[in-house]
């Protein structure tokens, strides 16, 4: 029996179905991320788990007990709301202390833990500040501290780091991972940041329009996407139309001026799917022209026009010289890095 | 020529009577518009004081107590050519006002409750002291003429009088107070206390009791054997730099026998004209003829002198 179980859960607002047939079993101590486009039902699902929304269909069970029968206050959840939902009339410290008070933690102990939690999110010195007098990111960190300080057995995080800069975000990610490891907190994270989801999660749930598209480990979902949607949602994908040239010996798979020995069993025309980071600039291969070259810190992003349509290439900013805009290049990739799809299939 | 004559007087059925029976004729006869400013006596008096030096009202119709005050404060002008037929009690010093109706102050009781309990009808002012009426007695307070007259009557019966009301105060304080449910000046409230069954006996006037009984509620009026006191409804023309002659005419129209009978019928006022013959079916309770003659007329000159002092004493000793 899984620790937390969602069984065919659905939610309707009026006539609109927002979450549909959502089934998921979460093990104790697991770190799960919900990934999906804006409006796909992530927050709604989280709110149902938290008990703030009642599922229209299906059941949610925590350790086998029907959650709808348990009052939200008794579920022992720590929640970070997408809109923070800080108590506007309490200082940062009071906000964080609230959950401890509810658990009758003694004053001394409380002060210590509140101080530690605020320090952890980098808000030492902001104890007496009211939320309305804080910056967006500071407020978000108070919300995070408030949820973490009670050391809940389940953490529900709705875009908890969306307003933090990369550095802080990473510190917080490490913190989250640590808490989950040491206390064994079962964590569900809603995030729009794929890197975040990938680096933190044991498993990722990719959602689209209220439905689950795929559940799997980060690498599974990224490298063996269950659907075109998943593939395109997680990172970028290039699609090239290719065909098999049976006149050559042995038969060749040809895309523009790129070719390779055709794998067995491929039909006449196929689509090559390829992650941009798997493409390299080479002396031979698909002829392309660089349209724009975008600097992105640790890597460069190239938008190219190729013989087979537009393509995106990512190259690590490893200091080697990179082609400039307008330059003609050749794109090459290894056969094992591409995946093939019968042409005409839905993208 | 003045266009509008402002008459201030009681509201409710009294207003209706005046509007229906007096104003149309008066307007026709004098070519003037009459505006009726409705309000009870104290409201009217307060308006007179507020608008002092700038009076809007031409004729004021109020109870006798407030009228004495109005006269003292110089709000009233002089009336000329009053009919000679008036009861003496209806006349005021210098003819600054005149009574337009007579009322007797006595006792009212709930006949149904009395019958149910087997109590005899009250007969005397002393019955107010009867402990069986505990918390079921209502008396208007002293700033209301009914209450004042009850005080004076009790003082008089116990060796005092207008000039010495100590006895009255003492009886109120020790004997009557325990019985009193409320000192209630508002007539409406009085009837409501009876209707809700909280009160069964009260000090009140004939006019009020008559109209209350007319609603079908089982109450009756008693002229106490020690005598009932006179209470007047009065009218006066308001003194202004240019007092309208029509004010006097309007008041005199109220003394017209026809109107007097209408007021008796509709409002239970005993006529102030001695010679007026009252049809027997009309005044069952009202002080008419014999009963009118036997009424006790308090000495208002003395009372007015002491009134302020009594009020204070009443507030501190009785009503608390």
């Amino acid at each position: 029996m899984a620790f937390l179980e969602l069984d065919g859960v659905g939610k309707q607002f009026g006539s609109q179905t927002v979450v549909d047939d959502f089934s998921l079993a979460v093990e104790r101590g697991e770190f799960i991320s919900f990934l999906g486009p804006s409006g796909c039902g992530k927050t709604t699902t989280l709110q149902m788990i938290a008990g703030f929304l009642e599922p229209s269909r299906g059941a949610i069970r925590l350790e086998g007990r029907d959650l709808t029968k348990v009052h939200p206050a008794k579920r022992g959840l720590g929640i970070v709301f997408q809109s923070y939902a800080l108590f506007p009339h309490m200082t940062a410290a009071e906000n964080v202390a609230f959950g401890l008070e509810m658990r009758n933690v003694k004053r001394n102990e409380r002060a210590k833990r509140v101080g530690a939690a605020l320090a952890m999110v980098g808000l030492k010195g902001f104890e007496e500040r009211y939320p309305r007098r804080m910056s967006g990111g500071q407020q978000q960190r108070v919300a995070l501290a408030r949820a973490l300080v009670i050391q809940p057995s389940v953490l529900l995080l709705d875009e908890p780091l969306s307003n933090l800069d990369a550095k802080l975000r990473e510190e917080m990610q490490i913190e989250l991972r640590q808490i989950q490891r040491t206390i064994g907190t079962t964590t569900i994270l809603v995030t729009h940041d794929q890197n975040e989801a990938m680096s933190l999660s044991d498993r990722i749930v990719v959602m689209s329009q209220g439905r689950i598209e795929q559940i799997g480990t980060p690498q599974q979902t990224y490298e063996r996407p269950a659907s075109a949607f998943v593939s395109q949602f997680l990172g970028k994908t290039n699609d090239f139309a290719a065909n098999v040239d049976r006149t050559a010996q042995p038969a060749r798979l040809v895309a523009g001026s790129w070719h390779a020995p055709a794998p067995v069993g491929v039909t006449d025309t196929v689509t090559i799917s390829l992650r941009p980071e798997r493409i390299s600039f080479a002396d031979s291969g698909l002829a392309a022209k660089i349209v724009t070259r975008i600097f992105q810190g640790n890597h460069w992003l190239f938008q190219c026009e190729t013989e087979c349509g537009p393509a995106i290439v990512i190259r690590q900013n490893d200091g080697s010289p990179q082609p400039g805009e307008g330059e003609a290049v050749r794109l090459d990739w290894r056969v094992e890095d591409m995946s093939l799809r019968a042409s005409g299939g839905a993208a | 020529q003045q266009k509008t004559l402002y008459v201030a007087g009681y509201g409710g059925s009294f207003e209706k009577t005046i509007r229906d029976e007096v104003i149309p004729n008066f307007e026709k006869e004098n070519g003037v518009k009459v505006e009726y400013v409705a309000g009870n006596s104290t409201d009217t008096l307060a308006k007179l004081q507020a608008q002092k030096g700038n009076q809007q009202i031409d004729v004021a119709i109020v109870d006798d107590g407030p009228m004495y005050q109005a006269i003292q404060l110089g709000f009233c002008g002089k009336l000329d050519g009053l009919p000679a037929d008036l009861y003496d009690a209806a006349r005021f010093k210098d003819d600054r006002a005149v009574a337009i109706g007579l009322v007797a102050t006595g006792l009212m009781y709930n006949t149904k409750v009395f019958a149910e309990k087997g109590w005899a009808a009250p007969t005397s002012w002393n019955d107010l002291k009867d402990p069986k009426y505990a918390k079921q007695l209502v008396i208007p307070p002293i700033n209301n003429t009914y209450g004042l007259e009850a005080l004076v009557m009790l003082a008089k019966m116990n060796g005092g009088g207008e000039s010495n009301v100590d006895a009255g105060f003492k009886i109120f304080k020790t004997d009557i107070n325990p019985n009193v449910l409320a000192y209630e000046p508002s007539p409406g409230k009085m009837t409501e206390l009876f209707q809700s069954g909280q009160a069964v006996i009260a000090v009140w006037g004939t006019g009020r009791v008559q109209s209350f009984a007319n609603t079908g509620f089982p109450v009756d009026f008693v002229y106490p054997k020690e005598g009932a006191a006179t209470l007047l409804t009065t009218a006066c023309p308001i003194a202004k730099p240019t007092t309208s002659p029509l004010a006097g005419s309007f008041i005199k129209m109220l003394l017209d026998p026809k109107i007097q009978l209408v007021m008796l019928k509709d409002y239970g006022y005993g006529p102030v004209l001695k010679s007026l013959v009252v049809p027997p079916e009309l005044g069952k309770m009202a002080p008419i003829g014999e009963r009118a003659a036997k009424l006790y007329n308090p000495d208002w000159t003395v009372i007015n002198e002491k009134r302020e002092e009594w009020t204070k004493r009443w507030n501190r000793e009785v009503e608390r």
Partner: protein
């Protein structure tokens, strides 16, 4: 220090606030302040049975009020009753507003109206209803309680302070409910969820999370209820009768029956002063205590 810039912000704010309050201020100065000053003046005038009001300046009325314990007792009763009525409306009205706010749209509207309803019928008819319910031995409530055997003798309600407080609380209730309700509209429902997730029970949520945030509404309601109760005339007069005098009934008496306006004015001015002090004081106290909510 950035005194200069701060002052400029301040002056801009001050200018804006005066622009916004000026129309109302002019209305009040033009129409209310002069009558009020006239009343204050009145309280220093002399009065006599025969001479009426004498426009002289004496302290007679104030001395009388100061020296006669009768007035102290009456003011004490006035404020006691007003305070009790305020407490009852706050304790019952604020939760009711909260409950109302959680109802679905349709019921919310209907019940809001039902609660406003009592204000629609004249105070006279309303207290008449009370009298019929509680009055005398025939009162419905007393009959019910007696037939249930809960009480042996009818409870006195009319002409008691209890009765006054209950009736006042009833009359004033809509003011509290509506003010709190208006303030509740701003509270983010997610905040309640947040508190719940941290383990707060329903009562704690109300006390720790909701109440501080709706404090402006409770304060508004309390100020209205307290002021109105302390200066109310009709309900105390009808339910309390004349023996349980409060400041307003006393002023009424002096104004209408005795015609001693100077004394009545002194009572009224004293009442006004006391109320202003109490209201402004508690207002400042609460605004400071819940400063962050009032920002």
């Amino acid at each position: 220090m950035t005194a200069a810039a701060d002052t400029s912000t301040q002056t801009a704010e001050t200018r804006a606030s005066w622009a916004l309050t000026l129309p109302a201020l002019m209305l009040f100065v033009g129409v209310l302040v002069i009558p009020l000053l006239m009343t204050v003046m009145l309280s220093f005038h002399d009065w006599g049975q025969y001479k009426g009001i004498e426009p002289v300046f004496i302290l007679k009325n104030w001395q009388e009020i100061a020296s006669d314990p009768y007035y102290a007792e009456m003011f004490w009763r006035t404020f006691r009753i007003a305070l009790l009525a305020t407490l009852i409306t706050a304790v019952l009205g604020a939760p009711e507003a909260y409950i109302l706010n959680r109802m679905s749209g349709r019921w919310k509207g209907i019940f809001l109206l039902l609660i406003l309803g009592p204000l629609l019928i004249s105070v006279v008819a309303r207290t008449l209803g009370w009298a019929l319910l509680f009055g005398g031995n025939n009162g419905l409530v007393n009959k019910l309680l007696m037939s249930l055997g809960l009480i042996r003798a009818p409870l006195p309600f009319m002409f008691t302070e209890t009765g006054m407080v209950v009736a006042l609380a009833h009359v004033m209730m809509p003011f509290m409910v509506l003010s709190v309700w208006a303030a509740l509209q701003r509270v983010d429902p997610q905040i309640e969820n947040a508190a719940m997730s941290l383990g707060a029970g329903a009562f704690t949520i109300i006390r720790r999370i909701i109440l501080p945030q709706i404090m402006p509404g409770v304060l508004s309601g309390a100020i209205i209820v307290f002021s109105l109760s302390a200066s109310a005339f009709a309900t105390p007069a009808i339910i309390g009768g004349r023996r349980l005098k409060v400041a307003a009934t006393l002023a009424y008496d002096e104004f209408l029956n005795t015609l001693n306006w100077p004394l009545g004015a002194a009572v009224a001015v004293l009442l006004l002063l006391a109320l202003v002090l109490i209201v402004v004081g508690s207002n400042a106290l609460i605004e400071r205590r819940y400063a962050e909510v009032f920002r």
